[in-house]
């Protein structure tokens, strides 16, 4: 499956990009999180939520979205 991963806020600085595409077969968002932390070791120390197709999901969620967003801590207001 081809997925588009977008990075928000300081995660763009950590990865050096705002988005990229991967062809992957992974079962859960937790697996995706491990994959990305291996690819970008600096992500290992960071808190972020994962959204699939514009819905924030828990780490035990099946990975089935085609649009994945990595969201660092929120700081609006």
């Amino acid at each position: 499956m081809i997925i588009k991963v977008r990075y928000f806020g300081q995660l763009q600085e950590v990865t050096g990009k705002s988005e990229e595409h991967f062809e992957l077969t992974l079962d859960t968002t937790a697996s995706l999180r491990r994959f990305l932390k291996t690819l970008y070791p600096k992500l290992g120390t960071m808190n972020f939520k994962i959204a699939q197709d514009n819905k924030i999901t828990s780490d035990s969620s099946p990975l089935k979205g085609q649009l994945i967003d990595l969201l660092p801590p929120f700081s609006g207001g």
């Binding site: 977008r6 928000f8 806020g9 300081q10 939520k49 959204a51 514009n54 819905k55 924030i56 967003d69 969201l71 660092p72 801590p73 929120f74 700081s75 609006g76 207001g77």
Partner: protein, 146 residues
């Protein structure tokens, strides 16, 4: 009161004139007796000897607007509100300027007090908005909400 999902984001600062226009729009709604407004203003915080000159806001706007819609619907269900308006800046807002505007109205005062702080706290906690604090020397740090 079911409504369609609104876009809460405005480019740059929210002007006092916009706030005045929003207040003036309610003068024809003569069942309203009480309004409460929250305004977030960018502080020129001094951090390690450097002063914040602006905040640049980015967001996952689709999720932010959807979550804000859910917060709004929950507030209309819980409190006796006539009106609710929520705006947040996107892009750059200078120190001293307004970046966040929440406006609730009701026949009486208790619903506006009770809903205002709940809305502001929920929006700050649950909307994927990211503030980048820009210093005068062109460096930056990422804002962390308390």
């Amino acid at each position: 009161m079911k409504e369609k999902i609104k876009n809460i984001f405005v480019e740059g600062a929210i002007s006092p004139t916009k706030i005045a226009e929003s207040i003036a729009h309610h003068q024809s709604k003569t069942k309203i007796g009480a309004h409460a407004i929250f305004l977030g203003q960018v502080r020129a915080d001094l951090i390690d000897g450097k002063t914040v000159s602006a905040i640049e806001y980015t967001a996952q706007t689709e999720i932010a607007n959807q979550v804000c819609h859910e917060i709004r619907e929950a507030a209309f269900s819980k409190y006796e509100l006539s009106c609710m308006h929520i705006y947040h800046s996107h892009g750059q807002v200078k120190a001293g300027e307004i970046c966040f505007f929440v406006f609730v109205s009701s026949a009486h005062r208790d619903p506006v007090f009770n809903s205002l702080s709940k809305l502001v706290n929920d929006i700050k906690a649950k909307l994927p908005i990211f503030g980048k604090e820009l210093f005068e020397d062109q460096t930056h740090q990422w804002k962390v909400n308390q």
